[in-house]
Amino acid sequence: MFLSVSHLFAALLFALFTSIVLGVVGRNSDQERIRYGVKVFGYFVVTIFGLGWLMFLGHG
């Protein structure tokens, strides 16, 4: 069984897993961890869509 996924899905999945780990190891209290994990995931999503639009517009 192999998966064929879109670029967007793969990038969002990567962002999700990475944000969880960075949230867990990056801060010292549970509340800070959740806030940091959500913030990192948000940055990932903004970057994914930002770069996506940049490539789309740059491609002409």
Binding site: M1, F2, L3, S4, V5, H7, A10, L13, F14, L16, F17, T18, I20, V21, L22, G23, V24, V25, N28, D30
Partner: protein
Amino acid sequence: MAEKQMSSKQIPPPQLWAAPVVLAWLLPGAGHFYLKRWNRGGLLLFAIVGMFVFGLLMRGRMFEPETGDLFTTVVNWGGYFGDLATGSLYFLSTWLGYEQERLATAVADYGTKFLVCAGLLNILAIIDAFEIAVGEKS
């Protein structure tokens, strides 16, 4: 004072951190379980194993320690260490016969990166387990 600062920067005794560090390498999150950080260990297990499994499902390729020009050597050895850092996940999947040739598809390329990044994230988890074990973190 200087001597005190020097001694405080020495590596703590291995009996404090060796078990959680080795466990964290062998199974993502296991170092945290050993240190009774159940929730954090569970999240690390979910995220790192999830990334590794998706890497396999996307037909990602395991790196081999190839040498050649500088770029080839750095990429292949770096990727190999990244794959090795997933511990038992790497050993189990190769032992069970997972082998993937180079595929010229974007999804397979993503899969290769997922496999390496799972290892890199596990290195962060290992360092976190070390810091908890030696009392630098709660």
